[in-house]
């Protein structure tokens, strides 16, 4: 059966862009999470028509479709799974659809294909004084299509908002193979905001084949500051103080002592190895406002007991500080072979309390947990560093992860700030939503995909609608 599926796909695309060898399939069994699935076949369309063909062929063979961008997702959203009764799905990879189709510098809009890499887009429009504002730490390798699927964030989303605020319109291949345009380049397209529903739907409502994104002017003035503290509480109080003072910096990132040392060993940017916590704060805008905000932030930090406030002297030093922050996950690879990166969001005033709870969980489970995160919007990223070869470690990591999520929800938080729910957290959805709430979300999904052919088993727990009965596959851990 799989052989006719593969033959049909090869006829419709080209033989070289349809992979079916076991070794090739193994490469697409995972994303950047630790969960694993199994694909029947992996295909790489280059046009909207080829995506349509792939979707229709998959459906005619009774297969589900799993859309995939660069595979940097951390919640298992691109892991190919299907329920026990169905054959393995067809993975549709958008990486070969990587053209910037059109840039309108006057209206500050670009139409791009989904496989365009986030940073490539910003680089391509930099000469116009513009950039694409969402900047996930994986921006060198993650794609715009993936950003759309996960409604991705990044440090600078504190000021500019997450991906949904930067997507104007989408061309989408629906789960039945038809093409539709959602949203528009005008400010208020008539009817419901289906564009808004699609962004963040994690591949369950179709495959975006072209995306109209808003481009944001580069700021005339920028000030980047590295502030270090002797206690985590002082750093947390500084974050609250900045927000309460009516300042919205472009970014406020926090790193605890463990990750600061790891980063310093890795990039040698002059991060203080003896600090309990550091804040990387950036303000941008017009010169006087930037000056004033930087002065106020320094005053607030010093009043909370900051030891030093280092202001980046120029573009080079600024880039170095950001390199330290954004390569944090590369840095931990030197410490232990495995890591599990969590993502949860809590009220900003609860940061210190939740960090203390996480430290307590780390101690009880005898695990190394580091924290590097978007403090300005309360978006935590506890990073559990471990070696899975040590017997019993995986189970401790799993249990500690569950307790971290429970602590965040108990503090009034939500399950994910920017990574998505995917497979990883779908069974936790009941912690923050009632059955009726989940049913309403399932109804929205069913508008686009009534038979759950597109990325099945993701986001919503089994049983969100009557008749659902699914289990997270063996080997998946949440």
């Amino acid at each position: 059966m799989t052989s006719t599926l593969v033959a049909d796909l090869r006829r419709a695309l080209s033989p070289g862009r349809v992979l079916a060898e076991p070794l090739e399939l193994a490469l697409f069994a995972r994303d950047a999470s630790v969960m694993e699935g199994h694909a029947a076949v992996v295909c790489f369309p280059t046009t909207t028509e080829e995506v349509q063909a792939a979707v229709r062929i998959a459906r005619s063979h009774g297969r589900a479709i799993v859309p995939r961008g660069s595979g940097t997702g951390l919640a298992g959203g691109a892991v190919p799974v299907s329920d026990d009764a169905s054959p393995p799905p067809v993975v549709v990879v958008t990486t070969k659809m990587n053209a910037i189709v059109d840039v309108d510098e006057v209206d500050r809009v670009a139409w791009v294909q989904p496989g365009v890499l986030n940073l490539d887009l910003s680089r391509a429009v930099a000469h116009l004084g513009l950039h694409f504002a969402p900047d996930p730490s994986s921006q060198q390798s993650c794609s715009i299509g993936g950003n759309v699927a996960n409604n991705s964030g990044g440090p600078h989303c504190l000021l500019h908002g997450v991906t949904s605020a930067h997507v104007l319109a989408l061309e989408v291949v629906l789960p039945d193979g038809e093409v539709v345009v959602l949203g528009g380049l005008d400010p208020d397209p008539d009817g419901y905001d289906l564009r808004g529903a699609f962004v963040g739907s994690e591949g369950t409502m179709g495959i975006a084949t072209r995306v109209a994104v808003r481009l944001t002017p580069l700021p005339p003035a920028i000030r980047t500051m590295l502030v270090d503290f002797e206690t985590v509480a002082a750093a947390g109080a500084t974050v609250s103080g900045i927000i309460a003072a009516g300042i919205v910096p472009a970014a406020i990132e926090m790193m605890d002592s463990a990750i600061t040392c790891a980063v310093e060993d890795y990039v040698h940017a002059g991060f203080p190895r003896d600090a309990a916590a550091v804040l990387l704060v950036e303000v941008d805008g017009l010169a006087d406002g930037v000056e004033e905000a930087a002065r106020l932030i320094t005053d607030i930090a010093v009043a909370q007991g900051a030891r030093t406030v280092r202001v980046a002297a120029g573009a080079e030093e600024r880039a170095l500080l950001w390199k330290g922050r954004k390569s944090a996950f590369g840095a931990v690879a030197r410490i232990a072979p495995d890591y599990y990166l969590h993502d949860a969001v809590v009220p900003r005033t609860k940061l210190v309390e939740v960090l203390a709870a996480i430290a307590d969980i780390a101690e009880r489970y005898d695990l190394l947990i580091m924290n590097v995160f978007h403090a300005g919007d309360g978006n935590l990223h506890p990073l559990i560093v471990f070696d899975r070869r040590v017997a019993g470690t995986l189970e401790r990591v799993r249990l500690a992860g569950g307790e971290i999520i429970t602590a965040c929800v108990a503090a009034g938080g939500m399950l994910s700030g920017e990574h998505g729910i995917g497979l990883e957290k779908r069974d936790y959805m009941g912690m923050v939503f009632s059955d009726a709430d989940l049913d309403a979300q399932a109804r929205l999904r069913d508008v686009f995909d009534p038979t759950h052919a597109c990325n099945p088993m993701k986001v919503l727990p089994g049983g969100s609608r009557c008749g659902d009965l699914q289990h997270v596959p063996e080997g998946a851990w949440v």
């Binding site: 006057v106 209206d107 964030g153 989303c157 908002g161 949904s164 605020a165 629906l174 539709v180 345009v181 380049l185 005008d186 400010p187 208020d188 397209p189 008539d190 009817g191 419901y192 905001d193 289906l194 808004g196 529903a197 963040g200 739907s201 700021p219 005339p220 609250s240 927000i243 009516g246 300042i247 805008g285 017009l286 406002g289 809590v346 009220p347 900003r348 005033t349 978007h374 919007d377 309360g378 978006n379 009034g412 938080g413 994910s416 700030g417 920017e418 990574h419 729910i421 959805m429 923050v432 939503f433 009726a436 709430d437 989940l438 979300q441 109804r443 929205l444 999904r445 508008v447 986001v459």
Partner: protein
Amino acid sequence: MGVRALEKFATEVGGADTGPVTCVGGRSQWDVGGPCLPSVREVRAPSGVTEYEPAEMIVRCRAGTPVAELDAVLAAAGQMVTLDPACPEVATVGGVLAVGHSGLRRLRFGPVRDVLLEAHFVTADGSLIKAGGPVVKNVTGFDLCRMLVGSLGTIGFLAEVVLRCQPRPQVSAWYRAEGADPFEIRSRLFRPSSILTDGASTWVLLEGRAPDIEAELSFLPGDWQAVEGPPSVPAGGRESLPPSRLRSLHGEYLAEVGVGTVHRPGPVGVVPAQGRAADLQRRVRDAFDPSRRLNPGRMEAA
């Protein structure tokens, strides 16, 4: 007591057996989306700001709260929510969100759909549903909040919401010039709050710190006069155009440069979705209100 007010509202809305129902806010945008059928039973969402922690920069309030009442609470802490309706004393928070029309400061602060973080709403079967969450960054589940904004009450009636706040600018200053090219003005300014044109005059709203506003103004060609506020906004209808199309407008209008909204003195025909997009719109309404009991007459295309 807080939750009871929402449950009481849900009971008032009732289930399928209680017939058609409409939710009334301040009636300041009552005709948007087509007239509600006459003699439909009316309900009103509860009112009042229920939770406000300035250091979180979010606020929780009941959907029936007048925008001016919310604004007064936020102003005391130097914050604001950019709902910006034309009649803040009358317009309610829920009404502004349900209609979904952004105010004149959209150019800088974004569309009104981006301020809604969490919504409690009553569906056609009378159940109270929560969407989103009380945090500024959240991708937990599908985005029903953005679907609710601009849905004219046809997915559900808003009962309570959590909104994103902004710091209130230290200075807000409107300026007007005759004969300036509003599109060139836009390219010279960094994050202006608003640029309006009627084809002859251009108005700009600059917000922030006084020295920055003075510096920005000095970059602008033309003779700029400080004015009290924006001109009166024609309220007959709104066109929604890609921003570059504003260069070729005719007739009487006030246009939001860089945004694409055109305010007209007379009614404006809407272009309903076509083909498969129209089908998706109908399927949304079928999914949430198959008997069309919520706000019948509104959003007829769906």
